[in-house]
């Protein structure tokens, strides 16, 4: 129990090294090893799930050790360089850790068809997993930043090597965008470090800096610096155009990780850093954030409706759905913020399903042009059925998990931002619009003869989708298990601000 998080984080790294040591040409073995390695964090995630104490905002599963400690003589002032290995999770991060562990396994299954440089692919993928879990567990800013950057590099190569026709463009765009964000973020982090008098401890920052006059004075600037880094990741309008490109070019599994986990790091970061450390700036910025959220919702949905590339459509739908998260965060009521974090988790599962499903059809027909399909439900009824579940979940149908996040966001943000909420509600009509229109164009109507020998979804693909479907239905019927994980932390978080 004592080092669950460390194991979760670093087992994939060790796995990556093991895979690199495997002999060349044993691709099948590599895949199985990768699957076995990703299964470890998943098993540990179950342990976390059962061992996590509900109803408290305490940090749990804490591991703490001094990492780098020396005293630097900076002329007049002596600043001790003090970086800790400080890992732990609370209600904010626990659902994200679970999501990451789950999606990683499913992505390995979905990557079975990768044939180019298999060892490198899975090694990079496992390195990515280390970075992702680390980001959500790190409670020392420097450690967080290290994981953040560790994640960036494999992502760049995964898109740039295994991607589609414009992969280099997409990869470099993703890389540069994220890099700009992280540089600004690092500067803010260093400033906070000095304000703290030499500590990167995030929890301490949240305790001390709100009462530190210097920090309060600098609050807005630092808030915005951090915010920019995270906003690019969410991605918030107008920093969002890297996302559709990255998605369209990335291989299926990478798209799943990108939309399922990486986007959440943006909102997670805001809730982890900006909110508790700069409560005043948070309140000051909340209306803007709400507006940006609404812009994301409406603009993302309208762009999605105009797409003919299936994957690009899903990418824009992610932009739209992340808007709900931002609106909920901005509202600063316990219900809305809980709804926002629920939406983060639920969007992670639903959008993962959507990307996996797009991958299924792309693997068969090698194009994603919505206009060229038609009547596929006749040919592939099971596939069409699963797509329908995912689609209905995405449009926020009650009874499937997508609804509750949105519902709580709306219920919680109506008192704070009535007009913005009403506008955001348009998003649910637009969402239904692009989703049902797509479904009609792809699956309904007479069968397009070009696809009369299309094969239905395979058992392996079903295995990669089934756990997500179960979660989507289960949390749709009964959201309490998710909600009780995160609620206490978020209530305290909101209380600390308002």
């Amino acid at each position: 129990m004592g080092n669950t998080l460390t194991l979760m984080t670093f087992v994939p790294l060790i796995g990556a090294l093991v895979i690199l040591l495997l002999p060349r040409g044993r691709d099948e073995l590599v895949r199985w090893v990768a699957l076995a390695v990703t299964a470890v964090p998943l098993v540990l995630a179950f342990q976390v799930w059962s061992g996590f104490e509900r109803g408290t905002s305490e940090i749990q599963f804490v591991e703490r050790a001094s990492w780098i400690s020396l005293t630097a003589d900076l002329g007049a002032q002596e600043i001790p360089l003090n970086i800790e290995y400080y890992m732990g999770i609370d209600g904010l991060s626990v659902s994200m850790v679970l999501l990451t562990a789950l999606l990683s396994v499913l992505c390995v299954i979905a990557s079975w068809g990768i044939t180019k440089w298999v060892r490198a692919y899975f090694a990079l993928f496992l390195l990515l997993e280390t970075g992702m879990i680390g980001v959500f567990c790190a409670l020392d800013f420097f450690l967080f930043y290290v994981f953040w950057e560790v994640m960036l590099l494999p992502m760049y190569f995964l898109i740039g090597i295994w991607g589609g026709p414009r992969k280099e463009y997409a990869a470099i765009k993703f890389f540069l965008y994220t890099l700009v964000g992280s540089v600004v973020m690092l500067l803010a982090g260093l400033a906070m470090y000095y304000l703290m008098g030499g500590s990167f401890d995030i929890i301490e920052m949240a305790r001390i800096l709100p009462n530190n006059p210097d920090a309060v004075a600098l609050g807005k600037v630092l808030y915005l610096a951090l915010f920019l880094g995270f906003a690019i990741k969410i991605p918030l309008f107008p920093f969002h155009t890297w996302l559709p490109d990255a998605h369209v070019e990335a291989p299926t599994a990478v798209s799943v990780i990108l939309a399922g986990v990486l986007l959440k790091m943006g909102t997670y970061g805001i809730l982890r850093f900006c909110y508790p450390i700069f409560p005043e700036a948070t309140q000051w910025f909340a209306p803007t954030l709400a507006v940006l959220g609404v812009v994301n919702i409406i603009y993302g949905a309208m762009c999605a409706m105009a797409q003919t590339d299936f994957k690009k459509l899903v990418a824009y739908s992610s932009i739209s759905h992340m808007g709900f998260v931002c609106l909920g965060m901005a509202a600063l009521t316990p219900q809305a913020v809980s709804g926002a974090v629920m939406q983060m988790f639920n969007h992670g599962t639903i959008t993962a399903m959507l990307f996996l499903l797009v991958g299924v059809i792309y693997d068969r027909v090698h194009h994603r042009d919505i206009e060229r399909f038609g009547g596929l439900r006749l040919q592939t009824p099971i596939y069409a059925g699963i797509v329908m579940v995912a689609f209905f979940a995405a449009l926020g149908l009650p009874g499937l998990s997508g609804f509750w996040g949105e519902a709580f966001v709306f219920m919680g943000s109506l008192p704070s931002f009535p007009k913005a909420t009403m506008l955001a509600l348009l998003g649910i009509v637009l969402g239904a619009g692009y989703i049902l229109w797509t479904y009609e164009r792809v699956f309904l109507g007479p069968l397009n003869e070009a696809y009369s020998d299309l094969k239905d979804i395979s058992p392996r693909e079903i295995v990669s989708l089934a756990p997500l479907m179960v979660i989507v239905v289960y949390l749709g019927v009964y959201p309490q298990p998710l909600l009780e994980l995160l609620d206490a932390t978020l209530v305290d978080l909101v209380r600390g601000i308002v």
Partner: protein
């Protein structure tokens, strides 16, 4: 009670799951699973009905709350509740659903995806029951959306047909627009009250917890917008006629008897919290819908479309009923309509099954071939026309019109609320007679189809007979319904003197006491809600079961009702006579169409509402979508790529300058040095005599300089 409710609710859900996963492997596509499930539900519903009704207690309420979401931030309980209205609704929903299941065995025989069809029916039954049994607004909303999905799936059941694919999408999206309003209404209630359980909502609203009456009106109207979508009221009625693309039994169950009535049910549930202004909106929407939909039904050639517009129109009547405060009229019409309209739809299904066309002009003379269908059709046509005493439609429709008349007489500025449905009543009789004559009388127009036609099997005729029997037995249950189904917790409310009650009361007593009625009505329009002292006496009256049947009987407002009775009879005769005159003598439709070509065109094209939506909503939206996508590509990505290009240009510029200028300078210096070096190398030969010669030369030069 809990067990019965759970059986009623969950058995169809289980059937859906079974059908979804095992349907193809079961014999007969597993239809017996779904039919058996709904049979079990029916038994449970009957038991519940018996339990509730046997007590003879109008205020009966059983409820069961369970924790559903309960965290530090907020709690939302879910629960089931059964009162008299629920008991009736259960019986209506499960009853019609059961008959439609049975009918479908014959009707859908041999269709592809037969097992899924029954699975979807089970899903629908579950969702509808959830909607009816829920004790809170959120639960109702969940059921509300789920019936929408079942409706989507069933309308699109024949999805390889393009029109069906479009119709199911349209139905869902139009409903979604309505749901937007409803959801906003729910959130407004949540924001104002912090509770969603209906009982608590009534209580809090009664206690004046809403911040203002205007807000309450807005909440009521917003919630009603949901009903507008689901019950296909103007201006969101466009989906229902298209929904006829679904299998006909589905049209009977979902798009006539139950789901579309959910809007009316919702308004009925919300009745205690609706303000006079909200009710007025509801009444107007209902009246307009009743009238306009009826006019469209006159000219439709597709038998199912006639019935679809007729359904829209009848739902309008129910809204009028509730809008003018006729709780009984509105909700009783819901139940009677469920029976006779389901009978009509199944009858049309029987006909379509026999002749394989939906165009009434390809039918004719079918009464000889299909006597049972014909007989049941005539009975239900009589019911929808309000044929006196014998049919159930008479009791409900007369009550609505009578109450609307009372309303119209006392608030003459709102006389349209009575006039439009009254005129629509004539039109209803007219179009129903038209369809009956063209379909069942005269000579067969399409010999081949006629010869082919035959009455369906027992599973098709039995539901028709049962439904027409229920239609004829209206006199037996109109009384109990009125006695038992009363507005929820009305006694609590009356004490609070809530505005809606002033308003409703004024309608009922108004016929007797003009001044009092006008006074109360006026008060109802104004700030009646909190003007207690002025209306103390009304308040006192409220205390003694203001909605109780004896009160209505005692006062017998019946001048109004008697007038309406005569008017309706007149409408009946007029409608039948006109339609017979025009259609029985086989004067062709074309002559009529030519005679009134303008009107005809407008009606035939349903007032061009679809076209207006296409031009006014859909196309601009598509245009906006393309605009945003272009903006994304050109402006935002343009800026991103532009800045990238700029950076590259700058760096290649700086690269160039690095290469040419900076390096140029460096290299320049180097080359100069080199040149000098090369030059000096020649000089520095290392031989002493050369140096000596240079030395001499240098000295010579210096001397020369010195001299001059």
């Amino acid at each position: 009670m809990l067990t019965a409710a759970l059986i009623c609710l969950l058995v169809p859900l289980a059937a859906f799951v079974v059908q979804l996963f095992l349907g193809t492997r079961l014999p007969r596509g597993g239809d017996f699973v779904s039919v058996g499930a709904i049979g079990a539900s029916l038994l449970a519903a009957c038991w519940i009905f018996w339990q509730v009704m046997a007590g003879g207690e109008p205020g009966y309420q059983w409820s069961m709350v369970f924790r559903w979401v309960e965290v530090e931030g907020f709690t939302i309980p879910m629960g089931l509740a059964i009162d008299t209205l629920t008991a009736w609704m259960l019986l209506v929903v499960v009853g019609v659903s059961f008959l439609v299941h049975v009918f479908s065995i014959g009707y859908m025989h041999g269709e592809d995806r037969y097992h899924l069809y029954f699975g979807y029916l089970s899903l629908f039954s579950f969702s509808m029951l959830w909607l009816v049994l829920s004790d809170n607004l959120l639960g109702i909303f969940v059921g509300w959306e789920l019936v929408g999905v079942s409706s989507y799936l069933l309308i699109g059941f024949f999805f390889p047909k393009r029109s069906a694919a479009l119709a199911c999408k349209k139905a869902f999206l139009t409903n979604r627009v309505g749901d937007l309003g409803m959801w906003l209404g729910i959130m407004l209630v949540w924001k104002e009250l912090g509770v969603l359980r209906l009982e608590q909502v009534y209580h809090h609203v009664g206690a004046g917890a809403f911040s203002s009456e205007a807000t309450l009106t807005i909440a009521g109207v917003l919630l009603f917008v949901g009903a507008v979508g689901k019950s296909a009221q103007l201006p969101l009625h466009v989906w229902l006629p298209d929904a006829m693309e679904g299998p006909t039994p589905v049209s009977a169950l979902i798009h006539a008897a139950t789901m579309v009535a959910a809007g009316v049910y919702l308004v009925g549930r919300l009745f205690p919290i609706l303000t006079p202004d909200a009710l007025l909106v509801i009444a107007y929407v209902g009246a307009l819908t009743a009238f306009f939909a009826a006019t469209i039904a006159i000219v439709q050639d597709d038998i199912k479309r006639v019935l679809a517009y007729s359904t829209v129109s009848q739902l309008g009547y129910m809204m009028v009923g509730l809008g003018v405060g006729s709780y009984f009229g509105g909700l009783f019409h819901l139940t009677t309509h469920a029976a006779f309209k389901a009978c009509l739809f199944l009858g049309s299904g029987s006909v379509i099954h026999a002749v394989h066309t939906q165009n009434i002009w390809e039918m004719g003379g079918l009464r000889k071939k299909m006597p049972i269908t014909f007989a049941t059709w005539v009975i239900s046509t009589a019911a929808i026309s309000g044929f006196p005493v014998l049919t159930n439609g008479f009791f409900s429709k007369e009550r609505i019109l009578g109450d609307a008349m009372g309303f119209g007489l006392h608030l003459p500025q709102h006389f349209l609320i009575f006039a439009l449905p009254m005129v629509a009543a004539v039109i209803t009789v007219f179009y129903m007679t038209r369809v009956t004559i063209v379909t069942f009388f005269g000579e067969p127009r399409d010999r081949e189809k006629y010869e082919h036609a035959h009455e369906g099997g027992f599973e098709i005729t039995a539901p028709l007979m049962v439904l027409s029997a229920i239609t004829l037995l209206g006199f037996a249950y109109a009384g109990p319904f009125e006695r038992m189904v009363t507005p929820p917790s009305s006694t609590d409310y009356a004490a609070e003197q809530f505005a809606a009650f002033h308003y409703g009361e004024s309608l009922r007593t108004g016929a007797l006491d003009e001044s009092h009625g006008a006074h109360a009505a006026e008060a109802g329009r104004g700030e009646a809600a909190h003007e207690e002292p002025a209306h103390a006496e009304t308040g006192a009256e409220h205390h003694e079961a203001p909605w109780g049947p004896h009160r209505v009987d005692a006062h017998s407002l019946h001048t109004g009702h008697r007038a309406v009775l005569y008017l309706s009879l007149l409408a009946l005769i007029l409608g039948v006579a006109l339609a017979t005159l025009i259609y029985h003598r086989k004067r062709s439709q074309e002559a009529l169409a030519r005679r009134f070509s303008g009107t005809w065109r407008v009606l035939y094209n349903k007032y061009f509402v679809d076209e207006a939506y296409q031009a006014g909503v859909v196309n601009p939206l598509l245009w906006l979508n393309r605009l945003s996508a272009a903006f994304d590509r050109v402006v935002i990505d343009g800026a991103v790529n532009g800045s990238a290009t700029l950076t590259r240009a700058l760096s290649s510029g700086s690269g160039w300058s690095d290469l040419r200028i900076i390096d140029g300078i460096v290299n320049g210096i180097a080359s100069v040095t080199q040149v000098f070096g090369a030059a000096f190398r020649r000089v520095e030969t290392g031989r002493i005599q050369h140096y000596f010669a240079f030395f001499l030369a240098g000295t010579l030069v210096l001397m020369l300089i010195r001299v001059y």
